[in-house]
């Protein structure tokens, strides 16, 4: 047994039992005792790792929070929560069952697709915090959704779309049935009264389809026309209204032909195609939604007596003093109270290097506090902060679409204009040749060559690719991530926390000068408390009784701080003890050694197979690490990486990436940890782990949500397949339109056939894009051998 039975993470070599941590063991024990063990059979993805440290849940019981986010229902309240841990339907099943058993819960429904949990409970019976405690025990962390009213609105929109589609489907089916009766009357033997009766009934059935189900198109057309723009909706609405209107007139005056069937089929099939596209996009968005939380939901406010208290962000007021821990995000604009602070203002300025701010300087919401905790007096909150103003700009930028999609939009809109002109020409020409057929042929021309397929070709592919990525455990954070990922030629890996597990295991402890090893561990653990460097994780298992003050992290070297008035350094030998660097971790005061810690790290289980797979894709692999040469060489050798560099600072790594780029290579950087941020930002595409430092996420284009590298190969595969599908879609759409238009203009196509052909072409493009959702074949990594453990002594 090499994997945790609960979360599937590979176990450290010396782990006891079948679980990676106490949290997972407790969750599994609870699931077993609650008789929900079927979860393990039902799931298709491993569970999220359970965080053993407890959160302060009291915050969830606050009346202000409940007032804003939970709306009253008969017998209690209802709240919608987001959770990032739900990976498959079995998770939703488990949450449903587990929470339903908590006392006080009225109803609970979890949805793995949207990542949302709807919870109705009776506050007089049990506080929300107790119910959420049960959720956290299972490894699902709750986050606030955007607010009760937005949630209700979101559900209502979804339901309305579904009802429109249902009305369109049933209505058009019925209209087709009546139209069929008219078509089958080939010899005109039906008496006129019956024929007109059929026509009136078809009119009755198709009217709600055109006007109720087709309302989004009509509305879209109106918006486009008001903006003096000719787009897809104008053409769709125009064609369906033309078909319906002309048919109604024909019905009234008893003309020879009606085309109700073309109108309803057009509306229904387009609605279906559009809904498929929206659904694919919604899946991708839901996952990103649950993870994108740039601002903290709660902040630590300092009371007048110096105690700190967690309060919701909304409650923060100008004049309050807040405490921000290292690695956390500043909640508001304000003024620095400590003497010095290192802040990362990437979000605000794009400058990824930390800036130093002195006491009294202005600091901004959204910057990330590095190295040591700080205190800030709040001046501006909420929408008055600089971050909010920038966020509005970013939102505007994000509503723009990838360059290639914009190009397709422009082409399509020219195409629509050209098509309308062609329609007029066809109408004029045919009214000279054969006035009786002019309307019918114009209609067929307009309908058959609707460039819907052209407009759908790229968005449909991109949105399915995003949800395929989410399934593979990869989130695309930037809009050009996919496009660039398909082009990469080189991959640069960081080592610690990327190729190796993020939690190194502490090995032998040697002490000098008569100190006990337990005491040395205690001191080291205090120094690493709350540190986000992967090595700090090695000490997470040894709780410290000391508290370090003036802690400072020196990136790539070590950490220093004061404990009980004594100055300590922990890190590389040359930093902590002025000795020669030997790869181990030393504790000292800068001159004399007190203790030496050996540690081992294991390669991520699937890292060998992933690297082999990447190489098979023709990519050049590089390794650049801040670690000691011996360790880097040993990892490189095991994985067969030829170009490896050790003791690289962030600048060195960036120089390596820039060097490759100047040779015309397209570089993917895979990293994790604080000193990677500039490199991640400098590479063409960057990937980091969701479990890594929060800082790395800000700079990276893609995020691996699982603990394995497996998703990386899948992501590259998906990006390349997406590029192929987009080309196929565009090729098909253009070829189809170029063939169909002349045929229709020559009068060879009936309107109903035109509607079928056009919608079929759109559906074909959508279905071709949905192919991307098919799970790529399971890679050999699933049967990978036990993790390789690298001993560092």
């Amino acid at each position: 047994m090499t994997d945790c039975k609960h979360c599937g993470e590979s176990l450290a070599a010396d782990a006891r039992g079948a679980f990676c941590c106490d949290g997972c063991a407790a969750a599994a024990e609870w699931i077993r005792s609650a008789d929900l063990a079927a979860y393990y059979d039902l799931r298709s993805q491993p569970a999220p790792r359970v965080q053993s440290q407890l959160q302060d849940l009291a915050i969830w019981d606050r009346t202000e929070l409940l007032a804003e986010h939970a709306h009253p229902i008969p017998g209690g309240r209802e709240i919608t929560l987001l959770s990032d841990g739900m990976r498959c339907a079995a998770c939703a099943w488990l949450i449903d069952r587990a929470l339903a058993r908590e006392p006080g819960v009225i109803e609970c429904s979890a949805n793995a697709v949207t990542g949302r949990i709807r919870l109705a409970w009776d506050p007089t019976h049990a506080p929300l915090s107790r119910i959420l405690g049960a959720l956290i025990r299972l490894g699902y962390r709750p986050f606030l959704a955007s607010g009760a009213t937005q949630e209700v609105e979101r559900r209502r929109t979804r339901q309305r779309t579904l009802i429109r589609l249902g009305v369109a489907a049933l209505g058009s089916m019925q209209a087709m049935m009546f139209a069929e009766a008219l078509y089958l009357d080939v010899n005109q033997t039906m008496d006129l009264a019956t024929r007109d009766f059929f026509r009136w009934i078809t009119l009755l059935v198709s009217t709600p389809v055109v006007f109720y189900a087709g309302w989004p198109f009509l509305l879209g057309a109106w918006t486009e026309l008001r903006a003096r723009r000719v787009g897809m909706d104008v053409l769709i609405a125009g064609s369906s209204l033309l078909a319906w209107g002309a048919s109604s007139i024909e019905t009234l005056r008893g003309g020879p032909h009606v085309w109700f069937d073309a109108a309803v089929m057009f509306v229904f099939l387009l609605l279906a195609a559009r809904m498929l596209e929206q659904r694919a996009r919604a899946i991708g968005h839901a996952r990103i939604d649950a993870l994108a939380r740039a601002r903290p939901a709660f902040v630590q406010r300092e009371g007048s007596d110096g105690s700190s208290q967690a309060i919701p962000l909304a409650e923060l007021q100008a004049g309050d003093v807040v405490r921000v821990a290292a690695g956390e995000v500043l909640p508001a604009d304000g003024c620095l109270l400590d003497t010095i602070a290192q802040l990362d203002e990437t979000l605000l300025t794009g400058e990824s290097r930390a800036v130093e701010r002195l006491s009294g300087a202005a600091v901004y919401a959204g910057s990330i506090c590095r190295n040591q905790p700080i205190r800030v007096r709040v001046d501006q909150i909420g929408s008055a902060t600089r971050l909010s103003q920038i966020a509005q700009l970013v939102e505007r930028a994000q509503s723009q679409r990838p360059p290639i999609a914009r190009l397709a939009d422009r082409v399509a809109s020219y195409f629509v204009a050209a098509l309308l002109l062609a329609g007029i020409v066809v109408a004029c020409v045919w009214s000279v040749i054969d006035p009786a057929r002019a309307l019918q042929i114009t209609l067929a021309t307009l309908v058959i060559s609707c460039p819907c397929a052209l407009a759908l070709a790229i968005p449909a592919a991109i949105s399915s690719a995003h949800s395929a990525l989410a399934q593979a455990g990869v989130l695309a954070l930037s809009e050009h991530a996919l496009e660039r990922l398909a082009q990469i030629t080189d991959v640069v890996f960081d080592k610690t926390g990327t190729l190796t597990e993020s939690r190194p295991v502490l090995g032998r402890v040697q002490t000098f000068g008569g100190i006990e090893s337990a005491k040395a561990l205690n001191i080291a653990s205090a120094l690493e408390q709350g540190g986000s460097h992967p090595l700090a994780q090695a000490f997470a298992g040894t709780p410290s009784t000391h508290a370090a003050s003036e802690r400072r992290l020196i990136a790539g070297v070590g950490v220093e701080g004061l404990i009980d008035g004594r100055y300590w350094r922990l890190g590389r030998a040359d930093f902590a003890t002025a000795g020669a660097d030997d790869g181990a971790l030393w504790l000292g005061n800068g001159k004399d050694a007190t203790a030496r810690f050996e540690w081992s790290e294991s390669l991520r289980r699937d890292c060998a197979t992933t690297i082999a797979a990447l190489r098979a894709r023709g990519l050049a692999i590089h390794l650049a690490s801040g670690d000691a040469p011996a360790r880097v060489a040993s990892v490189a050798q095991r994985l067969g990486i030829k170009t490896s560099r050790a003791r690289q600072s962030a600048e060195d790594k960036l120089a390596l990436v820039r060097g490759l780029q100047s040779q015309g290579r397209v570089v993917l950087m895979v990293g994790d940890g604080i000193n990677d941020a500039p490199v991640l930002a400098g590479a063409d595409v960057s990937v980091s782990f969701a479990e890594g430092a929060a800082l790395a996420h800000r700079a990276s284009d893609l995020l691996l949500t699982g603990a394995s590298l497996n998703g990386l190969d899948a992501a590259i595969n998906i990006a390349r397949r997406t590029r192929r599908v987009i080309r196929q879609n565009l090729g098909w759409a253009i070829a189809y339109n170029l063939t169909a238009l002349p045929l229709a203009a020559c009068g060879l196509v009936e309107p109903w056939l035109a509607a079928l052909g056009m919608a079929g072409s759109s559906l074909l493009v959508t279905l071709n894009s949905l192919r991307l959702l098919r799970q790529p074949q399971r890679s050999a990594a699933d049967e990978a051998p036990a993790p390789l453990v690298l001993e560092h002594t």
Partner: protein, 55 residues
């Protein structure tokens, strides 16, 4: 052909009925989650008395 006068209104009523049923299904959240209910039928709930260790 007079039978049509009855059959067509009947078919219209059927369409109305199915639209009403569909609207009801959507409104009562039947389409909110299409994956989890599929698992529910695989694992039935045991009667509460048999469940061990549930508080």
């Amino acid at each position: 052909m007079n039978i049509l006068l009855m059959l067509i209104p009947v078919s219209l009523l059927l369409v109305l009925a199915s639209i009403a049923a569909f609207v009801w299904a959507v409104r009562s959240d039947q389409f909110e989650d299409l994956d989890t209910p599929a698992l529910d039928v695989l694992v039935g709930d045991r009667p509460a008395a048999e469940r061990p260790g549930v508080d």
